[in-house]
């Protein structure tokens, strides 16, 4: 399988996660081709966020393997996943409210900036240069996401929509080859949701692999190359948007009849 070694390729094998007696994820196997946009959908409680947490090392699987670019990351701590090139945003925002907007994004670059203790304590010219570059790159990203005007504002001054974009900027700052977005459009109005749509397309265009958890079917159907449907922690269906949309099991468990979905998202 080519998914194995290619940059941004993810493979999940027989992945399971149980919390006591609750099987949040059961025996999940699928692959994400590099450079594609893969969406994960399913009713609430299906295990979507649990899956994201597993794919970023926040939860340890009770069984199965996670392979990223051919490397087995199973059981490693979350920062190891990040260092390997995986970035994510959170469903419940985890913005660093005790920092400014630009500092949030600069923090996202952490894995790219090895800095020794002595240069840090003495603030050597090399470190100062590193900081200037870091700030410049962060500002670029803020510009890309329309937040540059508030770069030096404290993060807690931003409205909800801006905070969601800030989290994306922070995740992008680490130059991830795989980006996991957990409900990026949740709580956004249709205009803002369309911008997220554009953003995801742009990212996919640059070769970043994107895995998206979303309820907004309009967004999902429009932007995805493939869709994974979860139900009660199990893989219900996997395929192209057209195939998934027509799949009777999916319609039954989640989507409802096709025309209902379109009316709801108009």
């Amino acid at each position: 399988m080519t998914t194995g070694r290619a940059p941004g390729g993810l493979r999940v094998e027989r992945l399971s996660k149980a919390f006591g007696g609750v099987h949040a994820i059961e025996n999940l196997t699928f692959a994400v081709e590099p450079g594609t946009v893969h969406s994960i959908i399913g009713p609430n409680g299906a295990g979507k966020t649990t899956l994201i947490n597993l794919l970023t090392g926040v939860y340890r699987p009770t069984a199965g393997r996670i392979l990223f670019e051919g490397i087995d990351l199973t059981g490693r701590p979350p920062h190891a996943f990040a260092v390997a090139g995986i970035g994510r945003t959170f469903q419940n925002l985890q913005v660093f409210f005790n920092m400014t907007v630009v500092e949030n994004v600069m923090t996202g670059r952490h894995r790219l900036e090895p800095c020794g203790l002595v240069p840090t304590l003495l603030r050597t010219p090399a470190l100062a240069r590193c900081e200037r570059e870091s700030r410049a790159r962060a500002l670029e990203l803020l510009r890309f996401l329309g937040l540059a005007g508030r770069a030096d504002a404290c993060a807690d001054a931003l409205p909800y929509g801006a905070l969601k974009r800030l989290e994306i900027a922070r995740a992008l700052a680490g130059e991830p080859r795989l980006l996991l977005l957990d409900e990026p459009a949740a709580g956004l109005n249709p205009t803002e949701a369309r911008e997220i749509d554009e953003l995801i397309r742009k990212l996919a265009g640059t070769g970043t692999t994107v895995v998206l958890v979303e309820h907004n079917m309009h967004l999902v159907m429009g932007v995805s190359d493939r869709i994974v449907v979860l139900d009660h922690g199990r893989l219900l269906a996997e395929g192209t948007p057209e195939a998934v949309r027509e799949d009777p099991r999916v319609v039954d468990a989640y989507l409802g009849a096709a025309h209902e979905t379109e009316v709801a998202d108009a």
């Binding site: 966020t49 959170f90 419940n92």
Partner: protein
């Protein structure tokens, strides 16, 4: 060997009961306000010292004890009303520093109202030691153990059967939800401080005949009570009791079998060991973060 063992257990349980009562005070206040009340030990001191004063003033023992508990409760209510309620929107750390200020203030007042010397309350039923299972036990120890059992039973009834008690439990589980169903959270806060102060005073009155009392006995007792509450799991009432008794027994065993100088070291080493194995205390619920 047998008699010695009984001796240590009796001594340990006695001191442990006191720690349990103080620890309960910490957990009750923590549940209502997320605050660690560093003045909790001072309530113990106020209880003991007030009883001494009232007794000297001629009050009969039962009234002196009752009066001491009332004095401490009033101080607790004042602390809650004047300081904690006013600062309730502040960071938990700020509130803790306020209670630290309160403990210094109360010690300062105690120095003025009383003096710096050590006082003793006469024991409730005399000094004559009893022989039980081969060990020598002072009757006051039995009073301490008995009173603690009675108080725990009373508290259990209070939290399960009375409106105020149930309101306090509800608030400790979810403050916002409690407010939304109409519970007066301010009243719960006041009641918690009052109750914690009363418990502290009872502990002070019970232990004063054995361990004496002075203006600064609150410091170490407060510390041990806090340790007991943490050991058992902060916020858990059975935890505070188990933690207090365990701490008392550890100290007794440490003093008896190793050295009395190192009894506190042994106790704290064990607490550290327990925390490494169970980071939320013996009875603490293991909480996770939802992301």
């Amino acid at each position: 060997m047998d008699a010695q063992w009984v001796q240590f257990v009796a001594g340990g349980l006695t001191v442990g009961s006191i720690y349990a009562l103080v620890g309960l005070g910490f957990s009750i206040v923590f549940n209502a306000s997320r605050v660690i009340n560093f003045a909790q030990g001072e309530f113990v001191m106020i209880g003991g010292m007030s009883a001494v004063s009232l007794l000297i003033a001629g009050w009969p023992m039962p009234l002196a004890i009752g009066g001491a508990i009332v004095v401490a409760t009033i101080v607790g209510l004042l602390l809650a009303k004047v300081a904690i309620e006013r600062a309730r929107r502040a960071d938990v750390v700020t509130l803790i520093i306020i209670t630290i200020g309160a403990s210094i203030l109360l010690r300062g007042v105690a120095q003025l109202v009383w003096d710096k010397s050590v006082h003793r309350l006469p024991p409730l039923s005399g000094d004559a030691p009893l022989q039980l299972f081969g060990a020598t036990i002072v009757p006051q120890s039995l009073w301490v153990l008995g009173a603690t059992v009675a108080i725990v039973a009373a508290l259990t009834w209070f939290f399960r059967r009375t409106r105020l008690g149930k309101a306090m439990l509800a608030t400790s589980h979810n403050k916002l939800a409690a407010e939304l169903v109409g519970i007066d959270v301010k009243r719960v806060l006041l009641a918690s401080f009052g109750l914690a102060a009363a418990l502290g005073a009872v502990a002070g009155v019970l232990i004063a005949p054995i361990a004496f009392t002075s203006y600064d006995t609150g410091i170490m007792l407060g510390l041990k009570g806090f340790a007991a509450a943490i050991l058992g799991g902060l916020g858990s009432f059975p935890g505070a009791i188990a933690g207090g008794l365990a701490l008392g027994l550890l100290e007794g065993a440490g003093a008896g079998y190793v050295s009395s100088a190192y009894k506190d070291v042994i106790a704290f080493v064990v607490i550290l060991a327990v925390l490494f194995l169970r980071p939320d205390g013996l009875f603490g619920a293991l909480r996770g973060e939802r992301v």
